[in-house]
């Protein structure tokens, strides 16, 4: 890997990833522990002629993002739990109107104001179910800065491919920790650019009629095609409809493009999963401690392994089922009361073998914390 | 300048909801409601082409077509 070596915070790695992906517009509101993303972009974006705006709140931020995306921009906002709650309304709009956008949530402790400067992974289910109504969502995460960069680029690629919002669920430890980041050369990571319609001026353009491959070519606001965008159920021209076939068809399309198409290639990492007797499933900063335990146990000849999830939603059921098939014990390591653990139990063939190793006090879960759970499972001597 | 005069006062009856605003505020009393509660011009010759009805109409149902009076 060529390029430029940097020593940065995770939030900066996210900024670098977004700029690499071609970010044109950022709208946000200050909130710990994501603020560095806004600060850095306020400085970096105008240097390339791109734009930054600090809105009056996170509601306005997501709305400005959607408007900007419709003019052809690649867009992103960054927030944390309380701001993410405010974003849910606009997130639903972006799902319904099929607007590409990236929403970063650097997670802190909740509920409510919670513990702003400390780590939690409590927004996993908010990312999945936070906005109202039946819907599907893509949420990605990362445990190190190289992956923060890669997942940020991936988020833009998924957003553009499927015309959908994508949530990046980082956490406070990842956001604020410093470690090395190698900036890839331009062209080293494949980019998905916006698919623009080839329909000529004066010819009927259908902003909401998927092509055979499922993609919906867009036309920028201000371009030759004048169409309507709404949060209501709508026909292929974007006009409101309460026709039951239209409603049914649109919701199925919105679910299908994420649950079936985008879910085809879940992102994950695996360490010694093939023969693991005890398999950890973890993500984000918690996965760092889980990996530490695995490496140590392997040196002792014990069959521990780690499945590190990078795609959290749509939940990678098939991967979890496949990788856990041979394991006697499955331990989900996360910093909440078991949000991913629930989904793992639904995916595995023997849910009674799934255990939770967690920490919810705002402190990064340590290898010792995980060892304690292993000892409970395997008994004394471990 | 040649004087303008009404050529046609078109009311789109499909769109007119019969609120009566055009009838009430026409300075010349050109319009009335018909038996189906739709506006209808009845005194076209009195129209001074002020276009107030056209602009006030909440239903966008009025179209004033004017012509220049022959010298």
């Amino acid at each position: 890997m060529g390029g430029n070596l940097k020593f940065v915070q995770g939030n900066e790695a996210c900024v670098e990833g977004a700029l690499y992906a071609g970010l044109d517009f950022f709208a946000g509101y200050p909130i710990t522990p994501s603020t560095e993303i806004a600060e850095l972009l306020a400085s970096r974006l105008p240097k390339t002629g791109a734009k930054f705006i600090q809105m009056e709140d996170e509601i306005a931020s997501i709305c400005a993002l959607i408007g900007a995306s419709l003019t052809g921009c690649k867009v992103m906002t960054a927030t944390s739990g309380p701001g993410f709650s405010l974003i849910q309304e606009g997130l639903g709009y972006a799902i319904m109107a099929e607007i590409p956008c990236v929403i970063v949530n650097v997670q802190r402790g909740g509920p409510s104001t919670g513990i702003p400067t400390r780590v939690h992974q409590g927004d996993v289910n908010q990312a999945r179910w936070g906005t109202h109504g039946d819907h599907a969502i893509v949420a990605l995460t990362a445990s190190n800065h190289q992956d923060v960069f890669a997942m940020t680029v991936e988020a833009f690629n998924i957003a553009e491919t499927y015309r959908t919002p994508v949530v990046l669920l980082f956490d406070e430890v990842i956001g604020h920790m410093r470690e090395r980041l190698v900036l890839p050369e331009h062209g080293e990571i494949a980019m998905v650019e916006r698919l623009k319609t080839s329909v000529k001026e004066g010819v009927d353009y259908h902003p909401y009629l998927p092509r055979e491959d499922g993609r919906l070519p867009m036309s920028d606001f201000g371009g030759v095609h004048r169409y309507n965008v709404t949060g209501l159920y709508h026909d292929m021209w974007g006009f409101p409809s309460d026709d039951s076939d239209v409603v049914d068809g649109l919701l199925r399309h919105l679910m299908d493009k994420i649950e079936n198409q985008a879910a085809h290639f879940p992102k994950y990492r695996e360490f010694y999963t093939e023969d693991a007797d005890c398999l950890f499933i973890s993500y984000g900063s918690a996965a760092r401690s889980a990996r530490h335990v695995v490496e140590r146990r392997r040196r002792l000849g014990e069959r521990f392994g780690l499945l590190e999830l990078q795609t959290l939603w749509p939940f990678p059921h098939d991967i979890v089922k496949e990788k856990t098939a041979g394991a006697r014990y499955i331990v989900v390591v996360e910093m909440n009361t078991g949000q991913i653990c629930q989904s793992v139990r639904l995916a595995v063939s023997r849910p009674e073998r799934v255990f939770l190793a967690n920490r919810i006090d705002g402190v990064l879960i340590t290898p010792t914390d995980i060892q304690r759970v292993i000892r409970l499972i395997y008994g004394k001597g471990f | 300048m040649p004087k303008r005069r009404l050529k046609e006062l078109c009311i789109n009856k499909e769109w007119c909801k019969g609120c009566g605003i055009c009838i009430e505020f026409c300075p010349k009393g050109v319009l009335e409601l018909d038996t189906q509660d739709k506006a209808v011009p009845v005194r076209n010759e009195d129209c001074v082409v002020c276009r107030l009805c056209e602009m006030l109409c909440p239903d966008l149902a009025i179209d004033i077509v004017e012509e220049e009076e022959a010298e």
Binding site: P46, I59, A64, V224, R226, V229, P240 | E54
Partner: protein, 267 residues
Amino acid sequence: MPVKDYIRERFFPHIWCSGCGHGTVLNVLIRVIERLGLNKSDIVIVSGIGCSSRIAGYLDFHTMHTLHGRALAFATGIKLNRPELNVIVPMGDGDALAIGGNHFIHAARRNIDITAIVMNNRIYGMTGGQYSPLSGYGIFASTAPYSSVDQSFDVAELAAAAGATFVARSTTYHVNEAAQMIQKAILHKGFSVVEIMSQCPTYFGRKNRQGDAVDMLKYMRDTTTPIGSGAKGQNPELIERGVFVNKELPEYCSAYDEVIRHAMEGR
């Protein structure tokens, strides 16, 4: 006058009630756009939620029907990235000043070149006649069955205080004046607010014994007066119409272009 060139005719007749002032605002807006000779593809209409918001779907421009109260935030994202477009935001009074009040004052503060048209009928129509922040004290509504004890905002004063650089008020009775105000607002470089006092005969009129649409227009005729008229001196209760604010301040998109220039120069 070819109104039909500017509308999506297949959606007519529109959904608004008989005598609804929102139709008149739509009518006036179309005539202003025709008068200005604007290209249809250079106009973006962004609306929120409520009766007022339906205006977007009827117009053959780039149109966006957004979330309740949030239209100005969506519009800000559009305008900042395509400053050459004319961005017009028709809003209801509850939309603009209750749920959207924060976005309203901040758009005004930024002085971004957007035209906000507040169609003030002093009620929530689409949900069935609840009182709005512009209903005012002593008004009856479905959620104020014993009359409202809420005071109202003055849209013009609020917009001016928040920093809007063009602020005007007219009514759906004074259509030619309303057209002038909207025309000036669209041409103004900066955030402009035009309050159009409008009638909801179905809910506001009926609940407050103001009669039908015709009676409500007469009421607006009789209870308003041009700014600075002698009538206001005689009767301070009269509501003033006209241009309250018209000043030049740095417009947001242009100001941000300066930011870009500085950043590119490495300052």
